[in-house]
């Protein structure tokens, strides 16, 4: 028996708590949680990492991560994380926020955290809809998209146009790493993980604000099956929110990155 060896190829990250989540079947929050947890494990920063949960579907994220966690008011996670980080500069602090939380009610807080070059990492889940409250229009809802508060589709003449947060935040000099990835298939999930890792490394190196936007699904409120939802990301969200590296700190670019915003991802995340 002693001659037998076991190679573990897949297991639950230590940074995740072994319980069921409340997320709907087919929702990509679970994928995003796992990627963040894997990165924290791989970087060996679990004992010094503090998360800040949003208001929205991920409000209970603190139950799923095996980390110190705070639960912020709606949209205020970047301000709360600023207080945490300034009080403990040697800790790793990240926020996990949805599109309503980050791009609507918390637009001022995320903008100024980035503008200050606050040494934080933000994981931004963009699923183009309000999930928790039952499918209302988000600031990222696509033109024509039906939600419970745009029952005939988002009329841009009436409701305006979607906010593109990577494009906005990448204009700020305090931003060190602003990228968008997608969770609709395996190659893109692998790229997303590499980007999340880079974002946490940016914080470790004290380079400034880092954010990874993740295009995500909401089968329940989109009224689609999980499979159809992934296709909907590919067919509808990718053209509106192109994945890519929107701002990369020169210190990272020197590592051989090429900045691309064409959906293929940069060399930073290994191509693929």
């Amino acid at each position: 028996m002693s001659a037998l060896t076991e190679t573990v190829v897949y297991r639950r990250p230590e940074s995740l708590v072994p319980i069921h989540t409340h997320y709907c079947p087919g929702c990509t929050h679970g994928v995003a949680h796992r990627l963040v947890a894997e990165v924290i494990d791989e970087l060996g920063i679990r004992p010094i990492t503090i998360g800040v949960a949003p208001v929205g579907c991920a409000v209970f994220a603190y139950n799923y991560f095996n980390l110190d966690f705070a639960e912020a008011a709606h949209g205020r996670a970047p301000a709360m994380a600023t207080g945490l980080k300034r009080a403990s500069p040697d800790r790793i602090v990240f926020t996990y926020q949805g599109d309503g939380d980050l791009a609507s009610i918390g637009a001022a807080e995320i903008l100024h955290a980035a503008g200050r070059g606050e040494n934080l990492t933000t994981i931004f889940i963009n699923n183009a809809i309000y999930g928790m409250t039952g499918g209302q229009m988000a600031p990222t809802t696509l033109p024509g998209q039906r939600t419970t508060s745009t029952p005939t589709g988002r009329d841009v003449e009436f409701h305006g146009l979607p906010l593109k947060m990577c494009e906005v935040l990448s204009q700020l000099d305090g931003s060190a790493y602003i990228v968008r990835r997608s969770l609709h298939d395996v190659p893109n999930i692998r790229r997303a993980k590499k980007a999340i890792r880079t974002a946490f490394e940016v914080q470790q190196q004290g380079l400034g604000f880092s954010m990874v936007e993740l295009l995500s699904s909401c089968p329940t409120n989109w009224g689609l099956t999980p499979r159809e939802s992934l296709d909907w990301i590919r067919d509808h969200m990718l053209p509106a929110f192109p994945p890519g590296d929107y701002r990369v700190h020169p210190a990272l670019a020197e590592r051989g990155a090429t900045r691309r915003a064409d959906g293929a991802g940069g060399a930073l995340d290994g191509g693929g």
């Binding site: 679990r46 004992p47 010094i48 990492t49 503090i50 800040v52 949960a53 409000v59 209970f60 603190y62 139950n63 991560f65 095996n66 980390l67 110190d68 966690f69 705070a70 639960e71 912020a72 008011a73 205020r76 301000a79 709360m80 994380a81 600023t82 207080g83 945490l84 980080k85 300034r86 009080a87 403990s88 800790r91 001022a108 807080e109 903008l111 100024h112």
Partner: protein, 360 residues
């Protein structure tokens, strides 16, 4: 330590520093901006945190975050800014982290003006933000008290893991008078942060700080815990000051600046032969209901003086329970009453209400 000529806003900021405040977050607003400016100079030179936030909404949430990290954290603001902080204050109350706010009231409602007022009594003392909670509220009447109460606020906030508000007005914030600052206390080292603080789950179970209890019975149990804590605060932390009440048959009840001005009026009234004294509540929560109730058995009437339309008077009436007449004199909108006006109100009350013996 010796007496120095100090402006109120700078005095409370320096007092907070000496009390070991490790993080200050604020947003400029008159009439308390000198405090923010003092912090901007002093905190970085001491290696502590000063940050001018993008709004009062952000400032209070930064305080919330820093408080979660287990450091002594505070902000200061004035009426419109404090209104913006109500969301954050409710969350802080709902997650039981200690935090200190110095609220320097000004005329309102709305943008109002930048003159002294007490128009935010109900907002601050009754909780202000959503949900069932009360902060400890301390109301100074002198720069010395402003220093002392700010210093003590940090200890009380940590003792009860609650919000402590030092409630003052633009008058005291911008007044200069001799006062003594406390000795400098060091900030808490990282290794001595509280066990509940978010410092990283290193060799222990994760700490979670949240104000959401999705299951109503669990939320109710949490609310009961808050109520029990409030009862403990009510039992232990009632503070008030008295002036010439021993033989008084008329009592003036006034807090903060109004109490200080009333004291001048009472001196004059005594010279005119009126047996009048002052009860100046210092803790507005917990309110000195028992002392007011006791006075209702002694005096023939009470006069409540406030720099608002009549807010604390509800608490006085609650304690008096109709035993004696309770009259009101107030100025609003940033107007400060003069001692003569209050004296006139005292004389009017003395003439109107018969001696207690006559009432039988």
């Amino acid at each position: 330590m010796a007496l120095e000529l100090l402006e109120g806003n700078i005095a409370f900021a320096e007092a907070a520093i000496r009390a070991g405040c490790q993080a200050y977050f604020g947003y400029p607003i008159t009439p308390q901006t000198e405090a923010l400016e003092h912090m901007a100079r002093r905190m970085p030179e001491l290696g502590r945190v000063f940050l001018q936030a993008e709004s009062e909404v952000a400032a209070i949430n930064m305080v919330y975050g820093a408080a979660c990290a287990g450091v002594r954290a505070m902000t200061s603001s004035s009426s419109p800014g404090v209104s913006l902080m109500m969301e954050g204050l409710s969350y802080i109350a709902g997650s039981e982290v200690p935090a200190v706010l110095v609220a320097v009231m000004r005329g309102g409602p709305g943008l109002g003006n930048i003159a002294p007022s007490q128009g935010d009594y109900n907002q601050i003392v009754k909780g202000g933000g959503h949900g069932d909670y009360r902060p400890i509220v301390l109301a100074p009447a002198t720069v010395q008290e402003l220093i002392d109460f700010t210093t003590e606020a940090f200890d009380l906030a940590e003792k009860y893991r609650c919000i402590v508000v030092v409630l003052t007005d633009g008058n005291l914030g911008q007044m200069m008078e001799p006062a003594e600052l406390p000795p400098m206390r060091p900030v808490r080292p990282f290794s001595e942060r509280p066990a509940w603080a978010l410092t990283g789950a290193d060799g222990r179970k994760p700490n979670i700080i949240t104000s959401i209890y999705i299951d109503p019975p669990v939320e109710e149990a949490f609310n009961r815990k808050l109520m029990a804590k409030q009862a403990e605060i009510e039992a232990n932390e009632v503070r008030y000051r008295e002036f010439l009440l021993d033989d008084a048959d008329l009592a003036v009840v006034a807090f903060g600046t109004a109490g200080r001005i009333a004291q001048s009026a009472i001196r004059e009234a005594r010279d005119q032969g009126l047996r009048v004294g002052l009860l100046r509540p210092v803790s507005l929560f917990p309110y000195p209901y028992a002392r007011v109730a006791e006075l209702a058995l002694q005096v023939r009437a009470m006069l409540v003086v406030e720099m608002n339309g009549g807010q604390m008077i509800d608490d006085v009436r609650l304690a008096v329970q109709g035993r004696v007449p309770v009259e009101f004199y107030g100025r609003m909108g940033g107007v400060t009453p003069l001692p003569d006006e209050i004296l006139e109100a005292i004389r009017g009350l003395a003439a109107k209400v018969p001696p207690r013996e006559a009432v039988g």
